[in-house]
Symmetry: C2
Subunit: 331 residues, 2 copies
């Protein structure tokens, strides 16, 4: 299989899960000290992850929880951020300029900052009040922190049982998804690599990953034109430009917003012959109860898009690491 | 001028401004009774307006203020909504199914609901706890309510002076914008009516109108393919697919997020020859101080897009009232 080292990948997810005792210690200390609100800060792909964490928490929490785009915070500001705020961010490079500035601004306003940074020693790893340095697995790191808050709030009684299953089975289960999605990924890449415009639709905690896949993978890494739309919004405009040939992919997860994507699929079945459904439910997760799958649906569909990416890159010959402008052109 | 009845339009805006004493009475009663949070509910175009109101308020408020997508609320829920919540919505038809259900759900949770409905006697006009029935001017109605809250919170000391100017001069000023933008609108429509994909970028309180123009006007009414992107996010993916010929329109307003769009324009000037800037600053608003223009920038750019719409419709022969699917096909 292209770009797939099973052992390495399993070890990566296992290592992320092993961060949980440290995350619990941090969240518990914040919770016990008293929390006014919880802000998930990001930009681009990390903003997408922030939206995912917020959507996931909103199913249960009464806390004031919100996502915040770093560049918007730097301009418009946000007076909710101050003493009693925990601000959480993630960064791969540890140097994204908007995040560096936003963290400083939030700290000056009195917020405490928890950073998940891939690389130790970088600016953001040093600036965060509390930092966990571990590569990749951004959503998993966010969701572990989010779920610990839900547990402490008393609205996630299954926390221990669920994470016991994740610890035991999630790494292998996700690797298994990649293996079983490889043929599909190759076929999808071949069929859609030259689409003039591809639409992606998602909802719930998968909306963030839909937005991110369209923008941070297809646009930024493959230079493919895409548009992402929330399934809730699809029927309030976008539907009118769908014809028989329009390429549309719907990401379906297993959280409470699943019916919104089902509605889109029903519509597409009537009017379109060029849509694809990537449904987490189609993939087995051995060792994980059905009741817990909603928490990891976005990791399942991400495992599927990993296979699309590997084949797109191989077929197009376009290296996903190349950027035309980002961090190259001044603006 | 096509589709432009100056007298009627001036009367429409003047009538909306005349709702202010009633809005003040409503907001003051809510404020005096004590408010836990303020939720702007919407879907599609009205969700876009909700995002605008929230962004506008966030420049100053410490209140918990948030926008909520009705379909997301119906599935994921939102435990912040309850006693002490004022939920504000707008509806043209008064029958949008997601809003009807979301209003009932919020009321059951204890929220008080203020509706701006175009037509009296419709379902939503009857369901709202408090309803103001007056056609069109959705953003203006929302901003009048938002600004009254800011005034009562003590963070908008210029409220009276600013609205005195709006009352006196805004109706004629906006009509003047339409007249001076007509030649531009015709040229834009002619140049871009056959674009395979047109990108729209905006920020601040104009992001909602950018999203809405791309989706509710271009897609829904003109059946043109578009993508909208927040200027803050433009540099985290979308920039990579911009080449010399890519059609991009940037909406620029005068609120604190203006620098985010200026950055996009600087980038486009380097790599692209097919972009358009629609800048509220280019249009005179006689009788309105520069300091107040940020509050109505989105109305200025909307006046400009009105002219594009009129010419697009005339050139394409595609009646903006026609829908292929919405409220016609079951899904």
């Amino acid at each position: 299989m292209l770009k797939f080292d099973e052992k390495e990948q399993i070890a990566s997810v296992r290592g992320a899960l092993a961060l949980r005792p440290r995350i619990e210690e941090i969240v518990d200390a914040v919770w016990d000290a008293g929390l006014k609100n919880l802000c998930w800060l990001g930009i681009g792909g990390t903003w997408a992850s922030a939206m995912q964490a917020v959507c996931h928490m909103k199913e249960r929490t009464s806390l004031e929880v919100f996502s915040l785009n770093a560049a918007e915070y730097l301009t418009t500001g946000d007076r909710r951020i101050g003493n009693g705020t925990l601000l959480v961010f993630s960064s791969v490079t540890g140097t994204t300029s908007e995040i560096v500035q936003a963290v400083a601004k939030a700290q000056a306003a009195g917020a405490k900052v928890l950073g998940f940074v891939d690389t130790a020693g970088t600016t953001l790893a040093e600036k965060a009040d509390i930092c966990i340095c571990y590569p990749k697995n951004e959503q998993l790191k966010f969701f572990m922190a989010a779920d610990r808050f839900l547990f402490r709030e008393g609205v996630m009684p299954e926390y221990e049982a669920m994470y016991a299953q994740f610890d035991r089975s999630l790494p292998e289960a996700l690797a298994g998804v990649e293996k079983s999605a490889d043929t599909f990924g190759a076929a999808f890449a071949e069929k859609h690599m030259n689409d003039a415009l591809h639409y992606f639709v998602g909802a719930g905690a998968l909306y963030g990953s839909t937005y991110s896949y369209a923008m941070c993978y297809c646009e930024e890494m493959h230079w493919m034109r895409t548009k992402s739309i929330h399934a809730a919004e699809f029927f309030h405009g976008m539907l009118e430009i769908v014809d028989e040939d329009t390429p549309v992919t719907v990401f379906m997860g297993e959280d409470r917003q699943r019916p919104l994507t089902e509605r889109v699929v029903r519509f597409l079945e009537k009017v379109n012959r060029n849509h694809t459904v990537i449904d987490s439910r189609d993939y087995a997760l051995p060792g994980i109860d059905d009741a817990y799958r909603y928490s990891v649906s976005h990791l399942v569909t991400h495992a599927v898009t990993n296979r699309i990416d590997a084949h797109l890159e191989a077929l197009s010959g376009h290296d996903m690491e190349i950027r035309r402008y980002y961090r190259k052109v001044e603006y």
